[in-house]
Amino acid sequence: MIIINYKHENMEDYDKTTDCEVYSIHVKVDDISTKAKQMIIMIQDTSWITELDIIERASFDARAQPTIDKLVHEILSKVTTTLSDDFGEFLISVTAQDSLELQYNHTKVPLAELFKEKKSGNPGFDFHTETSTQLLAYGEAKYSGSINPYTKALKQIKGFLDESKDKMELTDLKYFTSEESISSALEDKKAFVAAFSINSENPSDIIENALSSEHIEDLLDYEELYIIGIEVDA
């Protein structure tokens, strides 16, 4: 992962007046294979079958390689399959978390629900972090092999807010974050992250487009907002 650019935005540049602190990050992912392995190991670690203790880690690792190769291949060939959607979203989520940790000192909340069906089920946000200012950050990740789905990400966050999904998730989140961030969240003080893949010759244009988007406006009522554009590269 390489951070190409990051910026504490002045929203007046986009003709928006707000107290919300807005940050943007432009990242390029080049360690897809590591991420694919990370996703697979994460599923393995949480499965009841691993608990049964009949599968040795070494034989799992050896057996997992063809699957890792398959995931990498699907992402790089930009096809749209259930598999590439699944992995793509994971890739966006973890890259966003990693960038926030690296650049803005966020603390990551483990990805628990990564395999949940998002297309129709909409159970909730894709990932979470805790900001250095002790706020809970709710993240939405959107992957595509052909377009730049920032609108989808922003609209989804708004949709979840309307359904109060953020409040419903607090019960589970309290095990992973500070008390302070939870009490802030209860007072409606929180952060949001819109992370999306970039498939464009001019990535910085895409990030600017996201910042000028009308769908960002509702999110500016909160404390912090992060716009993360992610390029997927070999």
């Binding site: 009841w48 009949i54 699957t67």
Partner: protein, 777 residues
């Protein structure tokens, strides 16, 4: 959660959350498998979206053929590793058990009904090169195992599969699988060095909790461990929360492991029915106030039946015996149309011939044969074993739309149904209940989908049902062998003491104290009387005709002689009226058995006797001679009552009452033929085989040892086998049934412990007979 689902709220969220939980914890939360069944039933489109993922996280790999998501991909890695490690397409549970059995000397586990234990055992048995002993509690289970093994090892006739311990077919055998009850286990120790046994599979090992059988089981376990300390011992149970108890009680703590598997593989929907025949969905997992969910369509079961669903009705033997079940479930029975399939009809015909019932509604008319013709099976413990097997084939081949059954089916017979309807809640233990519920919902590898079953109970039983379903079933950490037996019933003390003190005579199958009593000179005259009067000058048993022509005085003396021998082996010197009654009838049936009568012949003889056939014939003769007209004859015959015959029960049993099998005053024209069939089988099985054969054969052997009177050994063979022909006895020892001996004798040139040599006549046998002997050709 269920209320929301029924109101179509957040259905998909719940489904996704359950898949997540199954992924992390395994398919172990019963409530989840109820919710999954509802979602699949009410919202099939939503379910369909996630179904493959669910099957993956459940570990039901045999139901999967493609992997779409990353999650499924990871589970397919698990699947591959399991296959690589075990060489089989096991579920994680099967793999875990398999690996433990491979690696440990002692392994005790419990698994729910549909966990695929049979498949695991089949795989364990298939490709080893040593001998195996499988111990199960019932003869029905023995037969089930033997049938499965025959199919499994169809192509390898060098594997000897036997339902008892014998060293036979030696020259053609490479290895052996014995499937036995704990009682038959004693025969092992005489021959143990002739075999190469390295694995004991003790299935349904909760038999260790039975009073006497439990002691026999535990004693068998200790003896095999003493004789063959290096052989593996595997204990399997359904729904037992502490399988470790089997290891603790025998001190099997080195190189041992245990595990309770709670993984579900099918969903369940629970329905209640009230006295007005209205169905309601309910959940046994919710608090009392919320248990009832909503009304269900009154046609729910009917629609299922019409769509080729199958229904198991768990009912009482009483309801089957008095045909009440026909009325209670008339509307469902009515939906079943007559079968036309040829295989089905040939099975029915085979069964009809076996019990000797008439073809149409004549005097030997059988209800259960009628019912089978409509695809309705009946299954209970007093049904003759051969009949039960035909019935089980009938069910297994998919001809039974409805099966009425009692607790016998719970002894582990592997027959799942779409609906299990519990109509009888009497003596329902939590273990029986779980076993029964476990039959609802089939898991088949040909259906690549999540399957669920429906359980129906009477509404008044909802709270008991819910309590028992939640109860744990624990077995004791100590063996009955180490417990005080002074509280046991007097009739059981002999055997209990002998097992505890290891003073059981394996050869005679009697306790040392019983053997001592049978050595008494008091019964010498009785034995001599039997030998003198029941064997003719050629040492053949007298024919039925000859026996009948004896005066009542002599017949009475023969019966008294047998009775005296039986009493002599007991701790007491008298029998109660109840015991005497059962013994008298049993002796008559035993005499027919000695004369080599087949099951249907014995029934026919009893039918004639109980319905006073001679008297009826005499009346009809008077019609022929013009003395009576038909109307008068009919009146006179209807006035004849069925003779008294007591309900058969094992003896000794001092609490036995003298209850009649056919209600007093039943006209001979109304005798229930099915009941006569069940009753006769109970006499042969529960009374003669289980209670009389051992003491009588023991007395004859002891008499021979003392006098060298060869007639005693001949008579012993007749009592034990119904024949004294060496060839026929060998055939029985090879496991063939008495019913088949007649044609087998014709095709066998030579038979010994080494092999059977058949003659050319086998070329003319039909397929069924050929199948029966194919393993020995």
């Amino acid at each position: 959660m269920l209320k929301d689902i029924l109101e179509n709220k957040n259905v998909e969220d719940y489904l996704v959350a359950i898949i997540d939980r199954v992924h992390k914890e395994g398919p172990v939360v019963s409530e989840d498998f109820e919710v999954l069944a509802y979602i699949k039933s009410f919202y099939p489109e939503i379910f369909d979206e996630h179904e493959q993922k669910l099957l993956s996280v459940m570990g039901l790999f045999y139901k999967k053929d493609e992997f779409k998501t990353v999650l499924e991909e990871v589970y397919s890695i698990f699947e591959d590793i399991i296959e690589e490690k075990t060489g089989r397409k096991f579920t994680p549970v099967q793999a875990h058990a398999y690996i433990n059995i491979q690696n440990k000397k002692y392994f005790s586990f419990s698994a729910p009904t549909s966990a695929g234990k049979s498949y695991l055992f089949r795989e364990l048995i298939q490709d080893v090169d040593y001998d195996i002993v499988i111990v199960v509690p019932s003869r029905a289970l023995i037969t089930e195992y033997i049938n499965t093994l025959h199919k499994l090892l169809e192509d390898d006739t060098s594997v000897l599969i036997l339902p008892f311990i014998e060293n036979i077919n030696i020259s053609k055998t490479t290895r052996r699988i014995f499937v036995i009850t704990p009682e038959r286990g004693v025969d092992l120790f005489k021959k143990i060095n002739e075999f190469n046994i390295k694995l004991f599979l003790l299935d349904e090992a909760q038999i260790s909790e039975d009073e006497i059988r439990g002691m026999k089981f535990d004693s068998f376990v200790r003896r095999i461990d003493r004789f063959l300390p290096d052989a593996k011992k595997v204990f399997a149970h359904p729904f037992v929360s502490n399988p470790n108890a089997q290891l603790l009680k025998h001190g099997f703590n080195q190189n041992s492991a245990f595990k309770t598997y709670n993984q579900h593989s099918v969903g369940k929907i629970y329905l209640s029915i009230n006295t007005s025949q209205n169905f309601q969905y309910f959940s046994p997992f919710l608090s009392n106030r919320d248990k009832i969910l909503q009304d269900a369509s009154s046609d729910i079961i009917k629609i299922l039946l019409q769509n080729n669903g199958t229904l198991l009705i768990y009912t009482s033997k009483k309801k089957i015996y008095d045909t009440q079940y026909l009325l209670d479930f008339a509307e469902y029975i009515e939906l079943c149309e007559d079968l036309t399939d040829e295989t089905a009809l040939s099975l029915i015909e085979k069964l009809r011939k076996f019990i000797g019932a008439s073809e149409a509604s004549e005097e030997k008319h059988s209800w259960f044969i009628d019912m089978m013709k409509k695809g309705i099976a009946i299954h209970h413990g007093s049904m003759p074993l051969t009949a039960r097997l035909i019935m089980e084939d009938f069910v297994r081949l998919g001809y039974a739309k409805i099966c009425f059954s009692t607790a016998t089916l719970l002894q582990g017979i592997n027959m799942p149904f779409d609906v299990v309807w519990i109509d009888n809640f009497l003596n329902m233990t939590p273990l029986n209940l779980k076993n029964l519920i476990g039959r609802a919902g089939r898991t088949t590898s040909d259906k690549k989908e999540f399957e669920y079953g429906i359980v129906v109970i009477n509404k008044r039983n909802i709270s008991t049902f819910s309590e028992r379903i939640a109860e744990n079933y624990e077995i004791k950490n100590t063996s009955l062998l180490n417990e005080d037996i002074s509280n046991l019933d007097d009739d059981l003390k002999d055997i209990a003491e002998a097992i505890q003190t290891d003073t059981f005579d394996d050869e005679l199958k009697l306790t040392d104290s019983q053997v001592e009593r049978l050595k008494s000179n008091d019964i010498m005259d009785d034995i001599v009387y039997i030998l003198d009067n029941l064997l003719d000058s050629n040492n053949k048993p007298i024919t039925g005709h000859e026996y009948n022509s004896l005066s009542d005085h002599f017949k009475g003396k023969i019966k008294t002689a047998f009775k005296n021998i039986f009493i002599q082996h007991l701790r007491r010197d008298t029998l109660t009226t109840g015991e005497s009654g059962v013994l008298s009838i049993a002796i008559i049936i035993m005499l027919w058995h000695i004369q080599g009568k087949s099951f249907s012949e014995i029934i026919s003889l009893r039918h004639s006797y109980l319905t006073h056939k001679d008297e009826r014939n005499a009346i009809m003769a008077r019609v022929s001679s013009g003395e009576l007209n038909l109307v008068e004859a009919k009146e006179q015959i209807e006035a004849i009552k069925v003779s008294f015959t007591p309900i058969p029960e094992p003896i000794p049993n001092s609490k036995l009452n003298h209850a009649p099998r056919f209600a007093r005053g039943t006209s001979v024209t109304n005798i229930d033929y099915d009941l006569l069939v069940y009753d006769t089988y109970d006499y042969l099985d529960k009374v003669i085989s289980l209670s009389l054969a051992d003491p009588i054969c023991g007395a004859l052997q002891l008499y021979y040892d003392k006098t060298s009177d060869n007639r005693a050994l001949i008579m012993k063979n007749y009592v034990r086998f119904g024949t004294n022909s060496e060839k026929e006895i060998w055939l029985l020892r090879y496991g063939f049934s008495f019913e088949d001996i007649e044609w087998l004798v014709e095709i066998v040139n030579f038979i010994s412990e080494n092999e059977i040599v058949f003659n050319d006549n086998i070329e003319e046998l039909d397929t069924e007979k050929l199948n029966l002997i194919s393993r020995f050709i």
